[in-house]
Subunit: 345 residues, 2 copies
DNA sequence: GTGAAAGCGCTAACAC
DNA sequence: GTGTTAGCGCTTTCAC
């Protein structure tokens, strides 16, 4: 910057003023400064800027994963909105849900001069991370269970999960089995909705199956499910698991949805292209991310008013769910039997 | 830090020395310092550190997208390796391939004190970005066409694309049609390999179809393809497009692979679960990312020796490709005809 | 409107 | 080993 000042024959503060644009500078000097900047290819040091001004145009996203569908989309949303506002985003991952990892992830974020943090609370890692954020630092939590004292934006899950389960029940299924995805605490919204629907309908609540984030882990579960004659409907924690479960079911000769209905969650880009097209619930993660950044900004600027924001989610009916074979409650599945009703979507 | 020094009754540099760990400090003072740090919950300011030392433990990843499969995985790889080395990663995206966006993305990265940059050259945005990186800054380019003067790590594509096309040709297809994905320049490796195989085999080189990164754009292409009786084999630029193309083909009553063989590229996590399981080429993007960071580090540390690194990619044969109906070169596809050979994988 | 002076929190060079 | 001194590149008073 001193070089620029020398070249433009002005003082260093004047260069700073031109760059910040907040203070009026004479057109003449401004032009000279701009020319000098272009000539040297000068870039302000963010470090010095942060140090001197005590502010920073960087936010951190602390998350458990970066590549998994919902996470990646939420990060994309945050980044897009941040970029539009002139902010850079730093990614900090707490790999496991352990305290040590959480602490380390927070420390890495804190070591940089950060204007605020958005934490993705899709899983246990997010929950752990939130505990270690020092007070005073603007934080925005995305997804997960409602938490007092934290500004939070979520995608409605419980109501939609309940609605999805009810849809299956109304199709005539006696009950709905559930394959969970690693949740942010004992239970996430979709699971809560599932249980609530079953309870309200007086349907039996079968034990849950546990999958990981890897779609392949759904497949062996699907195989096992194929051998449980009482299983006619399965609600999977996300679409990718549903895809794996469907493949596992088919491995054993069960047809979807004729023999078993399977629904997912999220409306993954491939859900509609899947065979059969997945009945699911839409979750706009990118939008959640954008909203998260916006809310974080309003905290940083001190104009925050919203403490909790929930976006509506809706059931998307496609073709992976149908009435049970042989109609309501009957014994079903002569694995080689003819087509059952209800597959005509 | 001054607070810590006061509390521990030592000087500020001593605190710094304890934190950096490079210089010996008496156990007594070290303990007092550590206690003080824990008590206050102190974190060093990265900004001040970068300013004073002229170094930084942050790298930037400049990319065209963050959420699309290959990109997301490569970013994950970079992040994992960076975290292991104590580095933070900043994401900077150049949305379009335009010069303006490229310039802006580079400027955002440069505004932070950065130790180096990894640019994802999967598309035109990456290419544009590389032009704007100032000399002197350590840069590592990932994927894309070979470029002189830039340290680069790639996943072998051309040879594998050629091999994949040859596989189709050997199955008896007269030629192979190609659906491109938005490339980093006129042409990417997979396309080059496809063309080379066709040329070497003396097969006709049909005009290419162009898709975007969205899997849904493959579907209408698949529908059109279904009405071209001479199309018996399609090589898609990536697995997601292949999934869309397959669905489009099926929309029009064409069966895969009995009527038309379709292959993808990347070995997406869902490729194996797809119906039919996709014949494809594996691309370990996360590994590419890890390698990218490692190579960047060796540049930063001045121990760089590798200028160009290429990782082997292999054809993965599954069930979406088979010999053409009616055998080599014959007219095919009585859309309702019996099963053709070759679907028995 | 503009320059001079001070200082952000840290590390590096130097003395001891 | 440890404290003192200087200074990284900016922004921010404060005069003028």
């Amino acid at each position: 910057m001193a070089d620029v000042a020398r070249l433009a024959e002005v003082s260093v503060p004047t260069v700073s003023r031109v760059l910040s644009g907040t203070v009026r500078v004479s057109p003449d000097k401004r032009a000279r400064v701009e020319a000098a900047i272009a000539e040297i290819g000068f870039h302000r040091s963010g470090a010095a800027r942060a140090l001197a001004s005590g502010t920073s145009e960087v936010i951190a996203v602390v998350t458990g994963k970066t590549s998994t569908y919902g996470y990646a989309e939420a990060i994309r949303g945050v980044e897009e909105e941040a970029r539009a506002a002139g902010y850079s985003v730093m990614i900090t991952v707490a790999e496991s849900g352990s305290e040590a990892d959480a602490r380390q992830a927070v420390a890495m974020a804190l070591n940089q001069s950060i204007a605020g943090v958005v934490v993705l609370k899709f899983d246990a890692a997010g929950v752990a991370v939130l505990k270690h954020i020092p007070p005073g630092l603007p934080v925005e939590a995305l997804a997960g269970a409602r938490q007092r004292g934290v500004v939070q934006a979520v995608l409605e899950e419980a109501r939609a999960g309940e609605e999805l389960t009810n849809y299956l029940l109304e199709l005539g299924h006696r009950t709905v089995h559930h394959v969970r995805v690693p949740a942010s605490r004992r239970e996430d919204g979709r699971t809560t909705g599932w249980r609530r629907a079953l309870r309200n309908a007086g349907a039996p609540i079968p034990p849950m199956w546990e999958a990981t984030w890897d779609p392949h882990t759904g497949r062996p579960i699907g195989r096992e499910l194929a051998h449980c004659p009482d299983v006619t409907a399965v609600f999977c924690g996300n679409d990718e698991i549903a895809m794996g479960v469907i493949r596992g079911l088919e491995d054993e000769g069960a047809r979807v949805p004729e023999d078993v209905s399977v629904v997912g969650f999220d409306d993954h880009p491939l859900a509609e292209l899947w065979s059969p097209p997945l009945t699911t619930v839409n979750q706009d993660f990118a939008r959640l991310g954008r909203r998260g950044f916006t809310l974080l900004m309003s905290q940083i600027e001190g104009t925050a008013t919203t403490k909790y924001s929930s976006e509506r989610a809706e059931v998307i009916i496609r073709a992976s769910a149908a009435p049970p074979a042989g109609g309501r409650g009957s014994a079903r599945r002569g694995r080689s039997g003819g087509r059952s009703g209800g597959a005509e979507r």
